[in-house]
Symmetry: none
Subunit: 196 residues, 4 copies
DNA sequence: CGATAAACGAGACGGTACGTCTGGTCTTGTG
DNA sequence: CACAAGACCAGACGTACCGTCTCGTTTATCG
């Protein structure tokens, strides 16, 4: 019983990040073009080692990118709700506008083809971030900006969905103006009296 | 000098639809697993013929699925705006909930990897549908439900983005209740006084 | 009803010679790599036209190279037999040592795969040349150098076979020294008394 | 680190021999029509495995046919030179008259197009056989049939070249009578006094 | 002298094989 | 006994030519 080699694990994750061009200005390749063989070669690791510890290419990328690299766009609690929301959405939009956004989009793309990847994506990426926004929304409710009784999950969707639409469908730029427009619209909507 | 064979074209598109399981109850395969070779074989057509007329697998699928099959979820003009909107959103959600939705999701996935596919997706799928919703919103403004001065493109996003989020991220079912919730929220938001 | 276009015929043969690099210092391509499509394109002629008039690629090359280009290594009748033979063999060896020899070798190669090509090769290349040598041998017999009763066909083989061995098996250079060695050996053999 | 699979190697060579119809009465296909794909399919082996270990189709055929099948037409040392030569030439002519001869001719044909194939052909087929004949000639010289000072390589050519001419140019049958005629002529030539 | 039939260029078409690439599994020997 | 190294089967990739087959468009006799 020889324990899993942490060295190998890191080599694989580093190689993956390097090939994807994460964290550097260089462009890197897409998740689709990234191959297990290329990762193994660059990591100086056997393909079998990768297959032993990760179920799919997407799982490696999730580990390398989301778990061990992607910064959380944290939610500030020291600001009033509207400002905190604006701050958060701006940060998310800024993050998604660059290389990181492309990789996230590609992970969502991979999720269309593999339920396991989708589940991992939810577990490792989505749930955390959704919870953070819902928590933020809770502050809004506590501050009285959002009426009590509002479904906070739908409220979160209201803010997030347009970002993901632009990220995936690319029918517009992910600019700071766009972030502000979303927030303004969302606040208007949420503070309006009619509610399901 | 020799005209393109319409027969071959149809054979390719039919084979593609059959392999994807479009329009039948059978499950079919994903766009990713679909291969040009399989299409060629089933269509009784040479691979070269497919490569001659379509630049990529995604282009074939777009032709076979979006252009020559996918029903437009038309917009009714005989109803008052709120009812027309509800009718439309329900229809879209119903369409996306089934096999058709999966294929659309997969086309968006393919678009993450190829700019040409993205452009074609916009041209053949997205622009039409966005325009239809914007037109619908125009009716809403004409009827006074939506305040003048509202950016109708953002208004359309408000309604559509949550649908695409559920389609792609699958963080919830595409049910009729969901459709209704979107519409209610959207109407509330749009009729609220604060506007960008 | 419409006569064959001599213009097209010449265009095909010219294109073939050009592609093979015949008659120029440039290297050109092998008969194997030469394609009907390339000939058609360069000749500005339809593929069908080539297929209409020639049964195979080898037939085109035979026409272009052997019939309409390759100089006959003529036999001199004004010299005594031994000198005429030496002169002839030297000329043949010189011819075969260059690009022309390679094409002949390739035509013989093609003949291994197609009986029709072999037959055409015999008809358009081999028989003539063999007859010329036999005629030369006849002079030798008339001059008394070769004993009467000698099988002149075998006598011709004796001289020619080593040349073709070097041409095809390339187990030695086709030099003038080699030509002289063949002739000397041949004369010795032919003038020896024992004969079948 | 993983050794080459001898099983796969044999499967490839067997499949090649079977497809060429070597060692059976069935006709088989020519080297030209033989494809790597067909070999792979029949051998139950991946195409990549073949490309990994052999540089070309001709190399596979050389291994399958020449190295691992073709019987050497051995040279008898228990007979006087003239009888040994006759015995050998008869055996070679008999071998070349059948299917084996066709494959040899096709390998020589392939050698016209690829220097590597030519080199392999020399290394795996030609050199051995030429050496055997030269050795035979050495016996002839030792026995006093061939005058000392004779160039034995040219002497070997004298005997072999007509065989290859008939094999490749097919200007006559490879019969036992032909074998005898060559030997008779060769002996006469070699025992004659004039020598280069 | 005008019709008509062949020859022609262009190139689409169904095929087939190419040589490469990647996926995912399995084997061998090393540390 | 986990690992690197890498061989292996499987099969899709996109390309190149094959030889056949329409298409119109010349073009050169013949009725």
């Amino acid at each position: 019983m020889v324990a899993r080699s942490e060295e190998s694990r890191q080599a694989v994750l580093n190689a993956t990040r390097e090939l994807l061009g994460i964290g550097v200005e260089a462009s890197g390749m897409s998740v689709q073009r990234l191959t297990i063989e290329a990762i193994a070669k660059r990591a100086g690791v056997s393909k079998a080692t990768i297959y032993r510890w990760w179920p799919s290419k997407a799982a490696v990328v999730l580990d390398a990118f989301v778990v061990e690299y992607l910064p959380h766009t944290h939610v500030r609690t020291d600001l009033p709700f509207p400002e905190a929301l604006r701050d958060h959405v701006r940060a998310v939009v800024r993050q998604y506008a660059g290389r990181d956004g492309r990789v996230i989009a590609q992970l969502i793309a991979e999720s269309q083809y593999d339920p396991e990847t989708l589940a991992e994506f939810h577990r490792r990426f989505w749930d955390d971030r959704r919870d953070a926004v819902i928590e933020l929304m809770t502050h809004g409710r506590d501050e009285g900006v959002i009426p009590p009784g509002t479904d906070l999950e739908i409220a979160a969707t209201l803010v997030y969905a347009p970002i993901y639409q632009r990220l995936l469908i690319r029918d517009g730029e992910l600019t700071q103006d766009f972030a502000d427009a979303i927030v303004e619209l969302g606040l208007a909507s949420l503070s309006s009296p009619i509610r399901s």
